[in-house]
Symmetry: C2
Subunit: 455 residues, 2 copies
Amino acid sequence: MTQYKYLLDEKELPTHWYNILADMKEPPPYYRHPVTLELMKDPPMPPPVFPMALIAQEFSPERWIEIPEEVRDVLKMWRPSPLYRAVRWEKALDTPARIYYKWEGVSPPGSHKPNTAVAQAYYAKKEGLEGLATETGAGQWGSALCFATRLFGLKCKVFMVTISYHQKPYRRIAMEAWGGDVVPSPSSETQAGRNILAVDPETSGSLGIAISEALEYAVTHEGWKYSLGSVVNFVLLHQTVIGLEARKQMEMAGDYPDIVIGCAGGGSNAAGLIYPFLKDRLTGDRPNLRAIFVESAACPSMTRGIYAYDWGDTAKTGPVAKMHTVGHGFIPAPVHAGGLRYHGMAPSICALLDQGEVEARAYQQNACFEAALSFAQAEGFIVAPETAHAVRAVYDEAMACKESGEAKVILFNNSGHGHFDLGAYDAYHRKELPDYELEQEKIEQALRELPEIPA
Amino acid sequence: MTQYKYLLDEKELPTHWYNILADMKEPPPYYRHPVTLELMKDPPMPPPVFPMALIAQEFSPERWIEIPEEVRDVLKMWRPSPLYRAVRWEKALDTPARIYYKWEGVSPPGSHKPNTAVAQAYYAKKEGLEGLATETGAGQWGSALCFATRLFGLKCKVFMVTISYHQKPYRRIAMEAWGGDVVPSPSSETQAGRNILAVDPETSGSLGIAISEALEYAVTHEGWKYSLGSVVNFVLLHQTVIGLEARKQMEMAGDYPDIVIGCAGGGSNAAGLIYPFLKDRLTGDRPNLRAIFVESAACPSMTRGIYAYDWGDTAKTGPVAKMHTVGHGFIPAPVHAGGLRYHGMAPSICALLDQGEVEARAYQQNACFEAALSFAQAEGFIVAPETAHAVRAVYDEAMACKESGEAKVILFNNSGHGHFDLGAYDAYHRKELPDYELEQEKIEQALRELPEIPA
């Protein structure tokens, strides 16, 4: 009898996160101070910004870090998430490949984001904080943090890019339903916001400005700290529950992946699935395991950027990280995959890419929606525009198997549903979705603004 | 250790649907012909309209009807659905009650609707049909049928009420993503539609008109039949997988419900959960089991209508059923729970209500969103406006337990997510959500139009 999905009882939720830094040839280098550019080692991040427990996790050498009972307790609201065998899609593609996916859309906010939001809210609560401030673009991350802080009785302040606040009200409404305080950014609540509004009261805002406002809000309000949804090590660490569960579920299915795939903006959902498998490659057990991080061709940090120190945020207020970047001043085309419009990439992924342990690939959005529709018509689930990038890579690998006749095992992270992004599908359906040709000059121009690192 | 959810492996998906007609003191009476008003017994429905296998199920005396393997195979894409213990909500309400819910939002279209859509598509395919036509209001049912027909390689034609087509594009886009052909109703594709458009080219349409168009499309196109998402016996039958799974899961939890609750527009999701438990009451094993069907105060067929023969559709083209009705010409206030705006109710539920075996209750929408927000902030899931009515009833029962100190076990059907209906939450949040006082005269006026049944 065909089996479609592999479930784990909540008793089997992982008890520890997997920290890939312990198994890397060389861990990613420390951050540098945003102004002095000095290496920040102890602590590796500015303490006023993040809860201390998270700063301690950032460069921990421990391979396994215990997931607090209270965090596991909340994750059980939707975890372990199901692992699916894409039987119908395999058939539709007529491929000998065996395709599996982890389905993260079952969380209340609808993506993998709460995996770290819950942990961050827990540590904030434990530290006695009153609330967490953050920024959000389309609202995926903001909604996860509002959901998580609510469960721990914390307040949440979300600076949401003005244009999204008005154009995409649904995630804003969800954030408010979970008790979050959402303001359009730039706002009059911070000096950074007021400065921008004084110059241009009609500005549509940007993620860079929203980050500045959230950071300012956190450091100027007693009992508040800042929360970040991707890029840094501790976020990727929290996401490894995805891959750890998937390992058990692949065992249930009697398979092991040849290729593991995820879409990557900051890189956390992909790393969350990939790292627990990549461990086997790094330790020599599975030297041929392929891991593919898929980015948007509109923001190709890994495939067309350089590996260098750059500010993590456009406003240059946060730490400087060594990463693949197209430059902190780079403004990507307005593709629907808002979560893939980040100029850099998680430092640990970049180090692994530099060390030749993982691969990167970029796609234009039309190719992604084509694959996502093929997936939706076979498997039912309409995925987020970001996730559609992973789906396209799987599609291409499955087609390569069809060509070669190889029955490879492909596993990908179906990181979230597209219920709040259906306009993108409509545009694709009506052939009104643009692809954007990115001129090399635009990247090179942004790269000229990189910091000059002291020798 | 607290357990939050009870999962069943797909091997444990029910093999048979439960047919409550076999256990009722008296099954609901046959339908009558829409024009002649004669009793329709053999067959009990007009054969050109529905696939024959469904007509055979409508008044089947069999207690257990086998679920075809091909149907079970598709249901496994998301079933068995999880049963949750609402641990955090119990705590938030400070109630001694133990609250459980079945979570139907995990299906790709996001509600219980595909449970019957899949079966209907299967029987249509088996009969050699080319496609199914249906109507949809906000699009919940239409999206389920597009999803299901696609999986069986059938076409789907959906007549979507014009005002929803334009105001709520997301479900339309989802239907198109699954390959459905969606047209605003009234359309120029049917005589019924053209007639309306000739009189009023700017009409916003109605569900009654859309039903007429779908029926006309089905009977005038070779190889096409009609599909209905609620009310009739076979639809309720298909939904019993919900309750059959829940029985096993409640056993895993070591509990049995004192009260089972569902929201009811046509009644299918509520009956789907309730009937497999109500069996125990009808057969004497659980004589004190309470079953509550919750309707909208804007369309109170069970609580303020009468039990009489009435047309199932506003346009008087479909069969006449004996049911609780506020009259086929009754136009309910524009509450957000579009799925609860049906003038009648499933005949089997009405017969059970008339026989004193189940209860009915009606709520204004503000009370429902208040309870749904309390639920979302504790349990995470933002439910559909329809489902919010069940949530309110649970809330009140839990509060009654708090008052009395009784630790009752309450089980309800969390029939779908509210991702496409967040505007309603926004209106509630901004205190702009109206309650509608329904004047008795409006109901009485509509009841004057009931058919005169020949003696």
